[in-house]
């Protein structure tokens, strides 16, 4: 085990996979000489050269479409989209290209392509640099979507994503980059895509979260514990494909569910989770599933306004109490 920051864990995964497989290459804005605006690709250009760690113009739409066809033709591209807020610029390539050809061409092509991006609010970056658009990418069949909360999962899941034969959207969070955690040593320690992690066991209410919201859920569990409520916190880790079995197991135990996502509420990821639970765990539910997500509005800049709209531990704890009451 090594104590690492989340950004360092990602950096290690990129380095190891690029060493392991010469067809892996990266491109994106400011990732080369500067090492990425969040320093995730620090030092990689020096180690692997301009050709494999490539700075690009500001051209998300073309970059994404190019990544898809590069993946089809023998390489394993890792594309960095600087902010999740810029995902809408990539959408044609994801919706109409990346996610369809493996199926349409009857498996003749694989598209081993990873799109890394980061989202989330809390630091005053304003409406165009603070969003969580998890639901938007999860809506597209044919894409895998992962959103790790810890350095260990960040590393293990990124390695799995790079080795995957399907397009994977890898969602990071700007407030997690500096968080630290123990990361298992070894080049072949992978975290499988599609498996949730039980962060805390509890008997009274299940809280399902991902990315930074896992930390909020853990804090909510501490608040609830003061009232004698034992919350079970499940870190989904992979948003799609969903680990339905872990969800079922937890709800069969607690009978109460709170679903948390930093994205918008309406048609949001929390809504999808809620619907899934309703459909598959109905007879185990002792109360309606509670959603905790972003209000349906632009994220304001001013601190008191931004803090008011972001989902947090207090809102999660309130939702859990409402479920249990």
């Amino acid at each position: 085990m090594t104590l690492m920051r989340y950004a360092e864990a990602l950096n290690a995964a990129l380095r190891e996979e690029m060493q392991r497989d010469p067809t892996v290459f990266m491109f994106g804005e400011d990732i080369g000489r500067y090492g990425g605006v969040f320093k995730v690709s620090k030092g990689l250009r020096d180690e692997f050269g301009d050709a494999r760690v490539r700075d690009t113009p500001i051209s998300e739409q073309a970059m994404t479409a190019m990544a898809v066809t590069a993946a089809m033709s023998g390489t394993r591209p890792i594309l960095e989209i600087m902010y999740a807020d810029f995902l809408p610029l990539t959408l044609d390539a994801l919706v109409n290209q990346a996610s369809v050809f493996t199926y349409l061409w009857e498996g003749q092509v694989e598209i081993p392509f990873v799109l890394r991006t980061q989202g989330g609010g809390g630091v005053g970056t304003g409406a165009q640099h603070a969003k969580s658009l998890d639901a938007m990418v999860c809506h597209i069949p044919g894409l895998k979507v992962v959103a790790p909360a810890t350095p260990a999962d960040a590393k293990g899941l990124l390695k799995s994503a790079i080795r995957d034969s399907q397009p994977v959207v890898f969602l990071e969070h700007k407030l997690l980059y500096n968080t630290r955690g123990e990361v298992p040593d070894g080049d072949d320690v992978l975290v499988p895509i599609g498996k949730a992690r039980t962060v805390l066991e509890g008997r009274h209410v299940s809280i399902f979260a991902s990315s930074k919201m896992v930390i909020e859920a853990e804090n909510a569990a501490k608040l609830l514990a003061q009232d004698g409520i034992e919350a079970e916190v499940i870190d989904l880790r992979t948003l799609r494909p969903l680990d339905l079995e872990s969800i079922r197991r937890s709800i069969a135990k607690t009978h109460h569910a709170v679903v948390v996502n930093e994205g918008w509420t309406f048609c949001g990821y929390a809504s999808e989770l809620s619907a899934t639970i309703m459909e598959y765990c109905f007879d185990d539910l002792d109360a309606p599933v509670q959603r905790v997500a972003m209000p349906d509005m632009a994220i304001p800049y001013s601190e008191p306004l931004e803090m008011a709209v972001l989902p947090n531990a207090i809102k999660i704890a309130a939702a859990a109490r409402k479920a249990i009451a």
């Binding site: 804005e29 500001i58 739409q61 165009q128 640099h129 509420t265 306004l305």
Partner: protein, 324 residues
């Protein structure tokens, strides 16, 4: 055809450039002390572009700008107090704290927006020009955008339609040599982006972006042309970004040798020299003192202004089906 600024206009432009510079200097101090929130993108050394371009327009003309738009904000006539209050997230800011420094907008001055999506301002201004044409108005729309935005696909699409339909839009390409940390020559195979104008059947011109009068003249000509219904123009204002990308930029990629010649061509200094010859040193000093006093008072007032309080109101809940 009027394309020469009057002495009063020169004095006003000088005043606005000093306000912009001073505003950024003070913001820089607050940022260093950790008293600002989110990134601040400074346009030090680029003041002549935004101020000169806006000075050549009328109040009812539209302008769109970038995440680095303080010179356009001030140039189009926004007050220092309203800008500073917005940047500090106060209720008295132009957008009551909701937009912040990158996403500020003000309808009364036609300043329709800073925009933090690179390239988004280009179709935005083009759309306003389309509306102007349909309404048969004699207004123009202008966009100030960077060399980074020039590489987006939407830039091509918008310019093509502007040329095709002869829309009254002025494309001011503020070439400051850097798209975030990446130099222009790593982003584009050609040094002069203005040559692209030919592909859209519009005039393309290179001006000294550190000469406020040169920028004014070019935009004045382009606006006359647009008002006559002759369509869009592309003006490439060559300048240089002195202060890095933003307050979150760790730097290290702009060398001193690269920067030195640009520092020597500081737009405010050059404007001051020209004005001293015209109106005397005392008047220029008075203009500058007034500008600094205006900024100082703006900060003083804004910092004691109240923060907004979150409430679900019509614009925030317009599409919410459920009241929380």
């Amino acid at each position: 055809m009027k394309n020469t600024p009057s002495t009063d206009e020169l004095k006003d432009m000088h005043h606005k450039m000093v306000v912009t510079r001073e505003l950024e200097e003070v913001l820089g101090v607050y940022a260093k002390e950790g008293k600002t929130r989110g990134p601040i993108h400074r346009c030090d050394g680029q003041e002549a572009v935004g101020v000169g371009a806006c000075a050549a327009l009328r109040t009812d003309d539209y302008v769109c700008t970038t995440h680095r738009g303080h010179h356009v904000y001030v140039g189009k006539g926004l007050t220092a107090h309203g800008i500073v209050a917005e940047i500090f997230g106060r209720e008295t800011g132009y957008c009551k704290g909701r937009g912040g420094h990158m996403l500020l907008g003000d309808v009364t001055t036609g300043m329709l927006g800073g925009n933090a999506i690179v390239g988004a301002g280009i179709p935005a201004a083009t759309g306003m020009a389309l509306s102007i044409q349909i309404l048969k108005q004699d207004r123009v729309a202008m966009v100030v955008f960077g060399d980074g935005a020039a590489q987006t696909g939407i830039c091509h699409e918008a310019m093509n339609m502007a040329g095709l339909w002869k829309l009254p839009v002025i494309f001011v390409l503020e070439n400051n040599e850097y798209g975030l940390t990446v130099r222009h020559d790593v982003q584009s195979p050609v040094a002069d982006l203005s040559i692209r104008a030919a592909g859209y059947a519009m005039p393309g011109e290179i001006v000294d972006g550190n000469d406020v009068e040169a920028v004014y003249r070019a935009v004045a000509l382009a606006s006359e042309r647009a008002r006559r219904g002759e369509g869009p123009s592309l003006i490439e204002a060559k300048t240089y970004r002195i202060k890095g990308f933003s307050t979150s930029d760790m730097g290290g990629y702009q060398s001193e040798e690269e920067m030195a010649p640009w520092l020597a061509r500081d737009p405010i200094q050059r404007s001051a020299e020209k004005l001293v010859a015209l109106v005397g040193a005392d008047t220029v000093a008075a203009i500058e003192a007034a500008a600094r006093a205006e900024v100082a008072s703006a900060f003083e007032t804004a910092l004691s202004d109240p923060f907004p309080v979150f409430e679900t109101h019509a614009p925030s809940a317009a599409y919410s089906e459920f009241t929380p």
